[in-house]
């Protein structure tokens, strides 16, 4: 079922990307084009086939529970859009 403007608005909201009404027409055409390409997957017989998440079916390694990183707070905050007293600043969330 093709996506309509409301579907696209909902997905864009989930993705935290602002879409204007002017964006919607092109988005509708392009996204539905891509979805009809991927719809070919539905015809594939995958009964009994395990999903493959990774090229090598390796399990994640565990490591010793110890500190391996040094304190880089000042360096990492130097590239942030807005910081104060060692904190990242964002618009007020709770009134």
């Amino acid at each position: 079922m093709p996506l309509n403007f409301d579907d696209i608005r909902r997905v864009a909201d989930l993705a935290r990307i602002e879409v204007t009404d002017a964006d919607l027409r092109a988005a509708e055409r392009e996204l539905n084009g891509i979805l009809s390409l991927v719809a070919q997957l539905q015809a594939a017989d995958t009964a009994g086939v395990e999903p493959m998440a990774h090229a090598q079916d390796v399990t994640l390694r565990l490591r010793e529970d110890e500190v391996t990183e040094s304190d880089e707070r000042a360096r990492f905050q130097s590239i942030a859009p807005q910081v104060e007293a060692g904190l990242y600043l964002v618009p007020k969330v709770i009134e």
Binding site: L31, R63, F76
Partner: protein, 486 residues
Amino acid sequence: MVEASLSELATALKARRASSVELTRAALDRIARAKDALNAFITVDPDRSLAQARSADARIARGEGDALTGIPVAHKDIFCAEGWRTTCASKMLADFVAPYDAHVIGRFHAAGAVLIGKTNMDEFAMGSSSENSHYGPVRNPWHGEFVPGGSSGGSAAAVAARLVPCATGTDTGGSIRQPAALCGVSGIKPTYGLVSRYGMIAFASSLDQGGAFARQAEDLALMLNVMTGFDPRDATSLDRPKEDYARELERPLAGLRVGLPKEYFGEGMDADVRAAVEGAIAALRALGAKTVEISLPNSGLSVPAYYVLAPAEASANLARYDGVRYGYRAPEYADLADMYCKTRAQGFGAEVKRRILVGTYVLSHGYYDAYYLQAQRVRRLIARDFVAAFTHCDVIVGPTSPTVAFRIGEKVADPVKMYLSDIYTIAPNLAGLPAMSVPCGFGANGLPVGLHVVGGYFGEARMLNVAHQYQRATDWHRRAPAAFAG
């Protein structure tokens, strides 16, 4: 010096017939002169590069150093390099100065290579033409009205135009091999897990793999010797003994079994590409290889599976660009949610947004099983096809791209048409297999054609052997675009 390959330059440096400072100055000069014609680089920093060159010369003077010591290497602007602006060709990261080195960058530093600059690319590696860059499109050195391929188009163009002897790239669905083919250079994507993804800006983590561009296969072996190796900071890095990727270069091809997938030689490939690829197959036979027809029955599903899995992973990976810790933040907003939405709408380009939306949709409630899980199941079918095929052959060959380079602007309005330029390159990423492209002739408008060589898991040394023997028998890889020759 311009015509010298990486291997030849390494020999010249060791014999003190050239210095790293000379090579570095020459490369910087060629990069500056080609800037308007190619737009292959986003950032150069001559003082930094020359400082590295001087310390490489000092190292060589002490009788130390390896093959890459003193060699100018261009890095795709997806690899974080401490103190270097690292943009991923996005407005989102236009002012981002990396606070640390990617594993790959660290390996080249340790080898004494010179970081000559950061190359232009499709934004966040999403594209097949290097047109999706905040810094403008890259141009093909063979013909400026045509694309160089993508996403690592700047690296491919820089090597093709003889600005540098070698460069790094990344390959998620063909982003090294397709631009290598379209620019007439050699490029390799190793087995998934051999090159650490630490500090390599993430697009689709289960597919992303670093690799290399150079004039010839012999040089790619030297690059892989530096780039590969276990890194505990990448959870998918493979802990394997170190290999010398040049060890099989001189092996004769007699007895080599070359698999030709019947699905790749049917409809879909342009006649000029077919003629060049068939010429290459004849050359391999003349070197003693036997060809066998094989089948990859699910190969037609690789593009659809990829355009579920890659956007899904991208939508999760790119959630980090929220205007809080680094990168772009919209100048005006009403509240926190509005800040996220405006930051991301303004900071990302059209193709990146398109893929985030597709990825968000296929992962959303009610659609996950039908799209994402089904794509992962198809991925296993595709991987099984290769495993079965490799019981009959040692390498698989075919075209890298169904066409030679297309015109700038030709496919921008139709995303699906653009996606189909990676129809032959995507399957090895899904399966995690190593694959490469080597120049094998020319087609329409005098544009290069690439031969795709796919190996079994950890088959890099054998693939490089096949490519090297082919390159000893042919001279396609020595051809340079007229505007940039000698």
